[in-house]
């Protein structure tokens, strides 16, 4: 085998906002009988061989530019979300008034249609709220007010507040506290939202008639809050995507649930800010286990 000669040329190519210098080589390998086997092409990125300083400066300028774009993106999302909330709040008031009988009786058929419109609008408000929360956490604008409290009492209250919702879905909500009170240093407001978010997911991705168990376990220097469901679970090859932004994992209930793909991303970010972690494990009997791991003392 020999070749018909190598053709080389230089090329400049825009990539991620700055110019890369490439060396390209094109070769035509030919068999012993003189038949051309195909075209062989190779490309080598040689940007750094030329003016490495200039390259570094370009890269810094580029990164600064990216940070700036990100900031204006976060700001844009925040403003847009707030602006979107106002008209949706108006829809809520007007449909709410009709549903609440302000303008006289509505027929059952009308009520059903109005309820759908109302629910649809509620969903839009939830999406806007999620977008806002994510924009705030991405921009580093979430203010946490750390307090010391007993996680058992705290979790029990959340369970109590959510029991009726679960009951309506004909699901049983069980709570298994740790043997003794465990104090954590955390921001109660966001922590409440994180636990509720995971609980809500567990319920939505679990069929009626099943049980959801919340356990508090006291390990030596951490405390673990586990939400265990008997639901559809997460396929092994999708686990990596669980906490990514806008990740939606397809399963038999996902269309019905209609989530935003932002809840778990936000929850993970919040737990990161607590120097903790959220871990997913499959439930051996089918379903999911989401475990919030919190340090007992806030690491500085």
């Amino acid at each position: 085998m020999h070749d018909a000669g190598v053709v080389r040329y230089d090329m400049q190519m825009p990539h991620n906002g700055f110019v890369r210098k490439l060396w390209l080589a094109k070769n035509y390998p030919i068999t012993g009988s003189g038949k051309m086997m195909g075209i062989l092409m190779s490309a080598e990125d040689v940007t750094t061989l030329f003016n490495p300083d200039e390259y570094a400066q370009e890269r810094i300028a580029y990164l600064e530019h990216v940070i700036e774009i990100n900031q204006s993106k976060d700001e844009f999302i925040s403003i847009a979300s707030h602006q979107l909330r106002t008209p949706a709040t108006g829809v809520k008031q007007y449909i709410g008034m009709i549903l609440e009988g302000f303008f006289g009786d509505v027929t059952p058929e009308q009520r059903e249609v109005l309820l759908r419109a109302y629910e649809s609008n509620e969903r839009q408000l939830r999406i806007v709220t999620d977008l806002l929360k994510v924009a705030q956490v991405d921009a580093g604008k979430v203010m946490l007010h750390f307090e010391k409290f007993d996680i058992n009492t705290f979790t029990r209250k959340i369970i109590r507040d959510n029991k009726d919702t679960m009951k309506r879905r004909k699901q049983l909500l069980k709570f298994v506290p740790s043997a003794h009170a465990v104090s954590v240093l955390a921001d109660p407001e966001t922590m409440h939202m994180v636990i509720e978010n995971i609980l809500d997911n567990a319920s939505k991705y679990t069929d009626i008639g099943k049980t959801i168990t919340v356990e508090v376990n006291d390990a030596s220097d951490t405390v673990r809050i586990s939400v265990i469901d008997e639901g559809v679970g997460v396929p092994a090859d999708k686990v990596d995507k669980l906490f990514e932004k806008f990740s939606r994992i397809e399963n038999e209930l996902s269309t019905k649930v209609g989530g935003t793909g932002l809840g778990l991303y936000w929850a993970k970010k919040i737990i990161d800010l607590h120097s903790g972690d959220i871990v997913y494990n499959p439930n051996t009997g089918g379903g999911s286990i989401f475990e919030i791991v919190l340090p007992k003392q806030k690491k500085v």
């Binding site: 707030h82 909330r85 106002t86 008209p87 949706a88 709040t89 108006g90 809520k92 008031q93 007007y94 709410g96 008034m97 609440e100 009988g101 302000f102 408000l125 806007v128 709220t129 705030q136 604008k141 203010m143 007010h145």
Partner: protein, 144 residues
């Protein structure tokens, strides 16, 4: 729903720049006999208050408004100097910063507008009226 929701009524000033919401709140509160006056920004609200013979018992205040926003209104109105007026911030901004600032300026309650359905608004007003009558022990004249 409409009947017997509220046993007592109150004079309420709604400060909201969104026309649809302003009108909605007027309709909701008016439906059970509350006396509602509305303004579209903080400046208008202050002017209305100046011309009133009697202060309203409740002010529902939006934060982001043109001309004079909610915070600007609070700084001039000074809720702490009006102990008989309950100021409720009715906003779609729920950042800690906004909430803290409003409370620091003497606001009594902070409600996320998007969460409050018409019946929630009526319950809120009822509970404030109840608090007022418990405080002052003199009932507000019911409006027919």
């Amino acid at each position: 729903m409409k009947s017997n929701m509220t046993k007592k009524t109150a004079a309420i000033l709604v400060v909201e720049d969104d026309v649809a919401l302003n009108e909605a709140y007027r309709t909701i509160l008016g439906s059970v006999g509350h006396k509602v006056v509305t303004a579209f920004n903080g400046r208008e609200a202050l002017e209305l208050l100046e011309g009133m013979a009697e202060e309203p018992e409740i002010i529902l205040l939006d934060l982001r408004m043109p001309v004079l926003d909610g915070v600007g209104f609070l700084k001039e109105f000074k809720p702490n100097e009006h102990p008989d007026v309950t100021v409720v911030v009715f906003s779609n901004y729920d950042a800690h910063k906004d909430i803290d600032e409003a409370y620091a300026l003497g606001v009594d309650r902070y409600v996320l507008k998007a969460r409050a359905a018409p019946k929630d608004l009526l319950h809120l007003v009822d509970s404030i009226i109840e608090e007022h009558s418990a405080d002052a022990d003199n009932d507000i004249e019911p409006e027919a």
